[in-house]
Structures are given as structure tokens and as C-alpha cells.
């Protein structure tokens, strides 16, 4: 029996709608990207909902103007477009300006990684983690399930600042354990075996694949600590170091290009120096655009991202 699945965006949007009912200083913008739950929000708050049309540059700039006048703004669009079509608007009006003037703007991008597999590279978000991470002051949040996404809506509304929330395009099961406020604060959620010598650190959809890697290794007698990394800009590195101090082999997994400053860059520069005894392997997408048509699993497998291949990389680390 398969687990029930739900959409990150639905729980996020429901949480925002609940807050908009009570708090009048929340404004919602979309670049003509909708969903049934969003229709509900639009109808409930016609004065605080605007579809700016297919214009992500203006989406970001209008968000900035609204936020300068005191609104907390949620801006919603397809992930590659809300990060890359308007990169300079994000840099100037969110990253730079928020260092000088208080802003609360949350960019929500739907379609992380290969979510829109058969749409091809235009609609896939493969560089967004690295690009958003390159911007000082910009938060980069990556939920793995709808529970986490719902909590992130509250975190966004309750925290001054600017950030990008990277959401999957498809319904996914909830991961265990249910995320806590403390997890959100630290920027990661732990599962698996405490004190294990092997860890898998993953984000977003990859945290579901990490579960399969965990099960395969566990079945082979290798206990594994798993880390679902939610904060890809500024996780609590001290806490993460303490949790992983026993590790000798660490596999990282992300649905983005490898070696381009994504999550692997974060962990290599920020965490690895504190875990000198650990050997690392970074799994992700080969920097290469794929025009092959196929389901997400096929595209991932073509990048070596299938549970058995990933478990083999861990075994190589252990035996190497």
C-alpha cells in the first residue's frame, strides 16, 4: 500500500490563506501561475491578490515596492522563471536593498529539479539553488514534504527578510519524523540511526530517494543517519557538526547541478572542515542539459541517482 501524498504548494498556500484572514498586511502576487487552492485564496482576498501576468521581473519589483510600504509579500511562480528570469531584480531589490531597508518578501518557486521532467530544460530548476545561494541576505529554503512547506509559510511570515522557497511540482508522501519548529530553526531534520558512521544529507525530493538508500544500506547491515537539509543558505552548522561527529562516510544528494555551488558547495565549504575524518561523495546532476523525454526517475537514473547506485557510492566510501 502506498502512502498518501500531498502537494507542498497546497499546504503552503492554505497556511498563507489562514494568516491572510487574520492579518491584513499580507499581499500575494503570482506571475500567472495558479492552482485550485490559489483560486480559493484569490477569491477570498481580491484586494490583496494580484496576478502580474507573465512578467517575473515585474513580479519581483512590485513585491519590493509593496514590502517597502509595509506589506509582507508572497510571490509565486514556476521555479526556474522566478529565480532566473529576474535574477538581477532579485539581486538589486531583494538581496542588496534588504541589507539597507527592512523587507519581507518570499519568492515561492514550484517545480524543483526535474519536477517538470518531460517539459525539458526550460522548465527544470537545475541551477536555482546555486544562483540563490550566491546572493547574500537571500534565504534558500527547500522543503521535502507538505508538512515542512506549511511550517515554512509561517516562518516566512514571521521572519523579516527575503528568501526563495523551492517546492516540488508533484505530490509526495510525508517524511518521518514530522518536522518541528526546532528543525525549521536549525534548518535540518534528522532521521535514521543516531551516532551512525554513515550519513546521507539530502534536500527536497532527494530526501525521499535518500529513504530508499537508507533502506538498502540498512538491509545490508550498514546503519545510516539521514539529514533532510531544509535551509540551503544558512543551516546551523554547529548543530549539524555535533550530530554528525561520528561520521566517516557522508553522501550528499541534490536535484541540481553538481560542482556549481549548490548544496554540495555549501557542505564542502561550511561543514566538511569540521568533520575532518569523514570521506564525502556528492551526488547530483551532471552539468549537462538533458533533452531525453522520460519520467523523472529515468532522468535521475541517467545521472546515477537511483537507490542501488547511490548505495554503491556509500559502500565505495566505506571500503575505499
Amino acid at each position: 500500500m502506498s502512502l498518501p501524498k500531498s502537494r507542498m504548494r497546497d499546504s503552503f498556500l492554505r497556511a498563507v490563506k489562514d494568516r491572510m484572514e487574520k492579518e491584513e498586511d499580507i499581499f500575494f502576487l503570482t506571475a500567472d501561475f495558479g492552482s485550485p487552492v490559489l483560486d480559493d485564496l484569490q477569491q477570498s482576498f481580491p484586494e490583496r491578490f494580484v496576478n502580474v501576468g507573465i512578467s517575473e521581473q515585474n513580479l519581483v519589483n512590485v513585491s519590493t515596492g509593496l514590502s517597502l510600504e509595509g506589506y509582507r509579500v508572497i510571490a509565486y511562480a514556476i521555479a526556474p522563471f522566478i529565480t532566473m528570469r529576474c535574477l538581477e531584480q532579485i539581486r538589486i531589490n531583494l538581496a542588496i536593498l534588504s541589507q539597507i531597508r527592512p523587507l519581507n518578501v518570499t519568492l515561492v518557486g514550484v517545480g524543483a529539479g526535474y519536477s517538470y521532467a518531460v517539459s525539458g530544460p526550460t522548465h527544470q530548476a537545475l541551477e536555482d539553488i546555486a544562483l540563490m545561494r550566491a546572493l547574500p541576505n537571500m534565504g534558500v529554503w527547500s522543503p521535502a514534504d507538505s508538512e515542512t512547506a506549511g511550517l515554512m509559510a509561517h516562518q516566512a511570515l514571521d521572519t523579516q527578510g527575503v528568501r526563495y522557497v523551492r517546492m516540488d511540482g508533484h505530490p509526495l508522501p510525508e517524511l518521518e519524523p514530522t518536522p518541528t519548529a526546532e528543525d525549521l530553526k536549525r534548518g535540518f531534520r534528522l532521521a535514521g540511526v543516531p551516532g551512525a558512521m554513515v550519513a546521507v544529507i539530502s534536500t527536497g525530493y532527494m530526501s525521499h530517494l535518500a529513504l530508499a538508500v537508507y533502506e538498502e544500506l540498512e538491509a545490508g547491515g550498514v546503519p545510516v543517519r539521514t539529514v533532510d537539509l531544509m535551509n540551503l543558505a544558512s543551516p546551523d552548522i554547529e548543530a549539524l557538526t555535533a550530530e554528525l561527529s561520528a561520521c566517516r562516510a557522508i553522501l550528499t544528494m541534490e536535484e541540481g547541478f553538481i560542482g556549481r555551488g549548490g548544496m554540495d558547495g555549501l557542505l564542502t565549504t561550511q561543514l566538511a572542515p569540521y568533520l575532518p575524518k569523514a570521506k564525502w561523495a556528492h551526488a547530483g546532476l551532471t552539468p549537462h542539459y538533458r533533452f531525453e523525454i522520460g519520467p523523472r526517475e529515468e532522468l535521475l537514473a541517467a545521472n546515477g541517482l537511483a537507490p542501488t547506485a547511490l548505495a554503491d557510492r556509500v559502500r565505495d566510501l566505506i571500503n575505499g
Partner: protein
């Protein structure tokens, strides 16, 4: 809240003074873009002394202020002496532009009192200003948003997204002023990507549009004041026709004046005679 009103002649005298002070800043800070700052001197002077902008130097973020965005940030070195004169910061700061420790850079940022947003990377003001205008309308705050762009800046696609948006939402509290000095960096604008007929373009976008001589202080105050106050149900554009490098004959005559730097000696010679 301040809205000084001066006569056209007084505004011209002030403009002449601010033009000289702009040249003196440039003499000490060759990195500043002098030609595009000189074309907008009368415009900035009229906004801050002609009774057009509600502003409060003692509290630059006063909620009662009109919001003023200089989207052509690089071309607003001439605003520095105006802001100093109005009391946003001490006049002594004008001698420190582009020097270590100064908050007055070659391209202004909102660490400078009187600036709202990050400017100078072109094409951002119309969109951010539209967001501010929408917020003020939704909150029922009766204040204006004034955005100044250059003409070459209108080559940026994002401004046209904003123009469509402002018209769609009938942002009647938004006024765009184009400092139409007709030159971008490498050539006359019309030889690069022509904008004519610019006023008609705005009208076709459902904006109100009007042209004015941007070096005529009386006309600037009359047109800007009337257009800002008009009951037109939508955003309004004023095309302020100007001369890039205004007041310095060698710049006025030079199609490449955007990138020209005047030497301190040249400036000393001009400042005596600048009009």
C-alpha cells in the same frame, strides 16, 4: 513636511548654483557621471523647491512623504547638493563624494538619506514604484509616487512590464518623469534604439502623457504640478526634454558626453561661466 514654493526665476538661480556644485563634485570625483546629472538639474530643483514633492529632511522615511525614486541613479549626482541644501545631510559631505568613508558614491544607494531604493542599475524604478503606488492605494494613503528615469533606460524590458502593470491597475498616484536627454552611452538614443513617438507610446499603453521643456523651471513646475494633480484615472508620464551635459558647451556638443570626464582645470574655467 516641506514643500517650498519658489518663483521660476528663483528656481533657475538655484539650478545654476546646483549645476556649479555638481561640477565641483565631479572635479573631485571623476568617477561620477556628470553629463547625465546635468540634464536633470532643473527637474530635481523643481521637485524639491517648487512645491511638487512632500518631503521631510528631518525624517527621510516620514510616512507622510511622497515617494521619490531616481531610477537613473547614476544621473543624480546633481541631487546630492540639493539634498544637502535641504538638510538631509551636512554640506561638508559633498566634498567627500567617492572618497573612503563617504556614504556618497558614484552611484547612489539608499544609505544616502533621501534615496528610497537601490538605483543606477537601470530599469528598476518603474516596477518598484508601481508596487509602492499599489500599496498606498490599497491602504488608502493619499501620497504620490514619482519615478525619474532616463530615456536610454527605457531600453530595459522590465520598464515596459511595469508600464503595462501600472495602467492595468490604474495607478493614478504614480507619475513617471523621463529625463529625455536623448543620448545613451555610445550614441544618440534615436541612433541606438529610437523611442519616438514616446508620448504616444505611453498613451497607447493607457497612460496620460505630456512633454515639457526640462530646462524651463516655470514650465516644469506648471506641468508636473498639474499632471500629478489631474483626475486622470491612471498613471501619468511627463517627458522632460533636456540636453545632456546642459551648461557645459563641450559636453552639450558631444554625442559621447556620457563617458566624458572633465578635468579640474576645465571645471574651474567653466564654473565661473556656467549658466
Amino acid at each position: 513636511m516641506s514643500m517650498i514654493v519658489k518663483t521660476a526665476a528663483e528656481l533657475q538661480e538655484l539650478s545654476d548654483r546646483f549645476r556649479r556644485e555638481t561640477l565641483l563634485i565631479h572635479a573631485a570625483a571623476a568617477e561620477t557621471r556628470v553629463a547625465s546629472s546635468l540634464s536633470a538639474v532643473e527637474l530635481y530643483t523643481c521637485l524639491f523647491y517648487g512645491g511638487l514633492l512632500r518631503h521631510n529632511p528631518a525624517n527621510p522615511r516620514d510616512p507622510e512623504r511622497d515617494r521619490f525614486i531616481v531610477s537613473k541613479g547614476h544621473g543624480s549626482i546633481s541631487l546630492y547638493p540639493i539634498l544637502a541644501d535641504r538638510g538631509y545631510f551636512p554640506k561638508e559631505e559633498l566634498a567627500k563624494v567617492c572618497t573612503s568613508g563617504s556614504f556618497l558614491g558614484g552611484i547612489p544607494d539608499p544609505i544616502i538619506p533621501g534615496y528610497e531604493t537601490v538605483n543606477g542599475s537601470l530599469g528598476h524604478g518603474p516596477g518598484v514604484g508601481s508596487g509602492m503606488a499599489l500599496a498606498l492605494k490599497r491602504k488608502g494613503v493619499d501620497r504620490k509616487v514619482v519615478v525619474v528615469t532616463g530615456d536610454g533606460e527605457l531600453h530595459e524590458g522590465a520598464v515596459w512590464e511595469a508600464f503595462l502593470f501600472a495602467a492595468q491597475h490604474k495607478l493614478d498616484n504614480l507619475t513617471l518623469i523621463v529625463d529625455n536627454n536623448a543620448r545613451c552611452m555610445m550614441n544618440d538614443t534615436q541612433n541606438v534604439i529610437g523611442l519616438a513617438p514616446l508620448a504616444d507610446k505611453f498613451r497607447a499603453f493607457n497612460w496620460y502623457a505630456e512633454e515639457v521643456d526640462g530646462h524651463d523651471t516655470g514650465a516644469l513646475c506648471e506641468v508636473i504640478g498639474r499632471v500629478m494633480a489631474s483626475d486622470f484615472n491612471g498613471p501619468r508620464a511627463i517627458i522632460s526634454n533636456t540636453i545632456k551635459g546642459k551648461g557645459v558647451p563641450t559636453l552639450e556638443a558631444d554625442h559621447l558626453c556620457h563617458i566624458r570626464t572633465l578635468t579640474p582645470e576645465q571645471i574651474e574655467e567653466i564654473v565661473g561661466g556656467v549658466k
